[in-house]
Amino acid sequence: MPSESGSFLKGVILGGVFCLILALLGTFSPEIQFRSDDHHHLHHHLKPLSREELQKLTVAQMSKVTQQVRVYCLIMVTPKILVHWATANETWSKHCDRSAFYSSESAKALEAIDLQEKNEWTRLRKAITHAYDSAGGIRWFFVARPTTFAIIENLKYLVLVKDSSQPFYIGHVQKSGDLEYVEYESGIVLSYEAVRRLVEVFKDESKCPERGHAIWTLSEEKQLATCLRYAGVFAENGEDEKGKELFNKKSVNTLISDSMSQNPSDVVEACCSDMAITFTGMSQSQMQVMMYGVYRLRPYGHNFHDSLTFLPPKDSDND
């Protein structure tokens, strides 16, 4: 009958339209996962406290915060990079509240904690576990290779009033598939809670195998991110109040050189953050120059009125 086929047709059409609408709605997911230009909106941006907010803290709060913001530096070395090892030892690592050099094998020339482990991921796990066990009252951990130069005072400034009993995993964030990880090359910052959870998840061989997955090997930075993710810890990108990167995997000279090509009329302003934390890929001489440039060379008469004071380390003459 015409009316029956008519209503049947209507039903089909309605159903078809309904399905189409559902299908279209399905593509409008609130999390747009794979568009690279939206990359930066996916992970969190971690910035230091602003000057105004810092000034609101009382003297008592300030002194408490200074006590708490101590950093344990884990510097992962191998005898192959002995020269950088020695340079890191003589320069920036002196500004850590505690620094430990973790090596794959012992080297006569320099002191290190010999983990006797060739596998890089396993070595990293052992180092982190060791650091966690010997942290004492230290609440922040910084992992780097000695080819990186770190300005620890600026690291402290970044995490100044962040609660270390919350999980923080900070550095320069990259994305691989749907995994967000902190790049090893420019240094990794972990709060006490993040490390505590990590050490827990190390025990789970299925989630976080000690030798890495047998079938394929992920780099240590991705292994770390995977394990941390299981523990509910996610990567955050460290930047200054203007959004400039604080963790750099290039050297100052390279970044300046890039800026000279890209922003010839405003080279220094457009280049790098005033409060940068790391630079990587510098020669040992360049690191010595950086030590002088950061901790000594300055124009007379400029006062910054910072809310905190960090004193120079004892028995040192290049800072």
Binding site: H95, I151, I152, E153, N154, K156, Y157, V252, N253, I256, S257, S259, M260, S265, V267, V268, C271, C272, S273, D274, M275, A276, Q284, S285, Q286, Q288, V289, M290, M291, Y292, G293, V294, Y295, R296, L297, R298, P299, Y300, G301, H302, F304, D306, S307, L308, T309, F310, L311, P312, D317, N318, D319
Partner: protein, 318 residues
């Protein structure tokens, strides 16, 4: 001090960085360039013209900007200067003192002389005496070895060679790049050992925290040093070296002492590879210099070598 072929490759970066901190800056060149701008000194370029250009540059500065400043700095287009630290150095002295500062070398002059490449600064009185020396022919163009000739003229005119070291006796004017001073080990036969007026310290204590200058600085390093000095800093860090406040400043806020920098750019002599090598050309900034310049009596040609060999005064810096 600069030259036409260095304007875009070197002088431009000086203009973009440290020279902004001077009260007045003049780019001295053999030729005028109104766009840059540079002062045209009417000389040639090259090693042989070095002292001639310096003489004319200083005459120009006194004549046209004598009242604009108390101190007059000559630097090359590959010199990096931290002008604020120069002000600190000079804060205890007045423009009426016949004195000049720089990286002090000892040979060939009783009180020594100041390295050209590392830059040197004359008080107004020192500059007046320099110009007066040429007027009275006490000083003449004896040699093209600019820094040595300056030193000898100033010595004749009773200008004192000052000690520019900081309160810990560390040098402030440096004839090489920071890397070289901080990490280099000068071989024992290197000329530098015999030239430095004060004992050389190698390693980190070579250089004052309040360094005034470095030399042989290429454009990339200019921006790097600008970043290190004026931008990158460790938050809250209390520096180990706390310089005493110059007593001349008293309790009041420090007043700015006007400083005129004659940024001289060095054009490497033909064939020479090192920028700012022994031959320094002078770049003058010629703002529209319409009025006729009264030439001082042309410097006499160098006769025989007056100071030992001319070539020895400025050894090849390498």
């Amino acid at each position: 001090m600069t030259g036409p072929s260095n304007l875009q490759s070197k002088a431009r970066h000086v203009r973009a960085t440290w020279s902004r901190h001077c009260n007045t800056v003049l780019f001295m060149s053999s030729e005028e360039d109104r766009g840059f701008p540079t002062v045209g000194l009417g000389t040639g370029e090259g090693r042989e013209q070095l002292y001639r250009k310096t003489i004319r540059a200083f005459h120009y500065a006194l004549k046209n900007h004598g009242e604009d400043a108390d101190w007059f700095l000559k630097a090359d287009d590959d010199t990096f200067v931290v002008v604020d630290n120069l002000r600190w150095l000079l804060a205890n002295h007045s423009a009426g003192e016949p004195i000049y500062y720089g990286k002090r070398f000892k040979p060939y002059a009783k009180q020594g002389y100041m390295s050209g490449g590392a830059g040197y600064v004359l008080s107004k009185e020192a500059l007046r005496r320099f110009v007066e020396g040429f007027r009275t022919k006490v000083c003449t163009h004896t040699t093209s070895v600019e820094d040595l000739a300056m030193g000898q003229c100033l010595e004749k005119m009773g200008v004192l060679a000052g000690d520019s070291r900081d309160t810990l006796h560390r040098e402030t004017f440096h004839p090489f790049v920071p890397e070289h001073h901080l990490t280099g080990r000068f071989s024992k036969t290197f000329w530098y050992w015999n030239y430095c007026y004060y004992p050389i310290t190698e390693g980190p204590q070579c250089c004052s925290d309040l360094a005034v200058s470095f030399h042989y600085v290429d454009p990339e390093l200019m921006y790097v040093l600008e970043y290190y000095a004026y931008h990158l800093r460790p938050y809250g860090y209390r520096h180990r070296y706390q310089p005493p406040r110059p007593p001349a400043l008293g309790m009041a806020a420090p007043t700015e002492k006007p400083l005129l920098a004659t940024a001289k750019v060095t054009r490497a002599a033909a064939g020479a590879e090192k920028p700012g090598g022994a031959g320094s050309t002078q770049a003058s900034e010629a703002r529209s210099d319409a009025r006729a310049r009264t030439e001082t009596s042309p410097p006499s040609e160098p006769s025989s070598t007056t100071l030992g060999q001319e070539s020895q005064g400025q050894p090849a810096r390498d």
